[in-house]
Symmetry: C2
Subunit: 327 residues, 2 copies
């Protein structure tokens, strides 16, 4: 069967078939708008990310299942960075005529895997044809108590700077993909990132994180957002920036600067956050609780500037400062 | 200045500059997610629509201001069809390199005109580059008390069937646009539709509408959704289907069947709704209150089928049943 035979409403039915009932969803797929009942006293948090063929993904380098998984994951990562519990999502697709129903079935299966894993419900969206490539637009909605939401603007001088997981794997994985590699941890981290949903919620609900962001544009670029909005500076120790064994092994063959992709590569979807020094042990305990590695990579300063210290104790000159979509 | 010089964050600043403060917006543009405080006891209603260059619009046939206006209007129309008061929206754009900053400024001005008119606030979104055409994805969020939300599924046999405004103007306007016309009411109705926000809210809050939908795929297709979800039939009197003087004058020159575009053209963004016969006068009074024309075009039946009666009292054979994106 091709997409023309399946039709717009046949496609919508295929999405709707995978949706679990949830009491707070009052109107799901199939009306002019979806309706949900916000949790009493909670803020609603909402974020939107687009994935564009040829910009964010290359259909020759990914399979439909992981593309579906990633489409939801990158949005859940944004909610995690606020400390919000994800609840609902909308999915809009612009579909080129050449795309097969098999591809769409794989994509649906992937996005529904992530939806089930994190307890989020598809409530609506839009499907249409595309004259260009595949366009995926996801809006994710979560909730949290107002006093527990973690913003980018709350970092204070003296706060410690932490990051989850390891950095640079995704950017290096993309380089390997483009060179023909199809497997391995680095490639997987690019194609199928794991949003740090539980870690984000734990950090928010324990009240330990003063500022938080997810690393999507690269560590230095995203740290820059925290610094600018908090009106502070930071000192980052390069020797403490977490690198995976696979990254360390591969980077020497591919890039001159071993830290370039860890600092400026992007698409890590790790959480970068600050916490008061007294809560250092609490942070480590919480991250152990949810099985997420965490590294103390520096501290917030009153200086107003970002200083990166290399392994020799000298100032590091960053080569790449993250991704600008129109550069 | 071009888009490359303006940059991603320069563009976001340009959007943020037009945003008015609203007490219920707790976190606006500039964090990982936006946060708003849902009104107590209300449902949140959410809808998403994409506009794709080459599918929904042709940059040679529209100006950036009206494209911006329409991008928000079509989403507000969906909320109106639920009887919801619109509150917030997110805007995601995938922008081709060739698009000028002047174009984007016009687009921003247009979308902000509609936002101001209807009291909705831009709270977030995404901007990225596009290798294909311009992609516009809007998510609109509104609210309403649970008992006042109007669904597609509430029509009952005996209910009267109403539609606001006139039908077919937009589809005919598009035909004229493609033939080189650039002005006139029909063309305007295609390029710059007026969402029936006040009418939708009035009908919901007065408790008169039993089912409602906005006419985006064509009268017969959208009525079909009401009938299927309400498990009823309908009888539509063709002589009562509202046509504008401009439509009546032009249609004879362009199409064989004078009703084809009024019944199946789409993009009317009028409200199609049902109400009990006893509330007929109330419907007419309410629509007069908000200055929106309304026509009684038929009634809901228990027959389970849609019957369209032409001016001679005979069954009409519909030529076109609305738009299927993948047909």
């Amino acid at each position: 069967m091709n997409l023309k035979e399946l039709g717009e409403f046949g496609l919508i039915d295929r999405f709707a078939a995978g949706v679990a009932d949830k009491a707070s969803v009052k109107i799901g797929i199939g009306d002019d708008a979806a309706a949900f009942e916000p949790a009493e006293g909670h803020l609603s948090l909402v974020t939107s990310d687009m994935l564009i063929e040829g910009v964010h993904f290359d259909l020759a380098l990914c399979d439909p299942l992981t593309l579906g998984r990633k489409s939801l994951a990158v949005n859940l990562s944004d909610l995690a960075a606020m400390g919000a519990t994800p609840r609902y999502f909308l999915l809009s697709l612009a579909i080129p005529a050449a795309l097969t129903v098999e591809f769409l079935d794989g994509f649906i299966a992937g996005i529904m895997q992530r939806a089930e894993q994190f307890g989020v419900t598809l409530v609506g969206g839009d499907t249409c044809s595309s004259k260009g490539g595949l366009v995926i637009s996801v809006t994710a909605i979560g909730e949290q108590l107002p006093e527990l939401v973690v913003r980018r603007s709350g970092a204070r001088p003296g706060d410690l700077l932490f990051v989850t997981g390891t950095l640079g794997d995704s950017a290096l994985g993309l380089k390997l993909l483009r060179k023909g590699e199809r497997r391995g941890l680095l490639v997987e981290r690019h194609l199928d990132p794991e949003p740090r949903v539980a870690a984000g919620i734990l950090l928010a609900e324990a009240g330990v994180a003063t500022a938080m962001i997810d690393v999507s544009d690269g560590l230095l670029a995203d740290l820059g957002h925290i610094l600018r909005l908090s009106n502070v500076g930071a000192r980052v120790e390069l020797k403490n920036v977490p690198l995976s064994p696979g990254y360390t092994e591969e980077i020497s063959r591919l890039a001159g600067d071993p830290f370039s992709l860890a600092l400026g590569g992007g698409e890590d979807y790790e959480l970068l956050f600050t916490a008061p020094p007294l809560l250092k042990d609490r942070v480590i305990t919480l991250m152990a609780e949810c099985g997420v590695a965490v590294s103390l990579i520096g501290e917030i300063t009153a200086s107003g500037r970002l200083s990166v210290i290399n392994v020799d104790g000298e100032e590091y000159q960053a080569v790449q400062r993250g991704y600008n979509h129109f550069a």
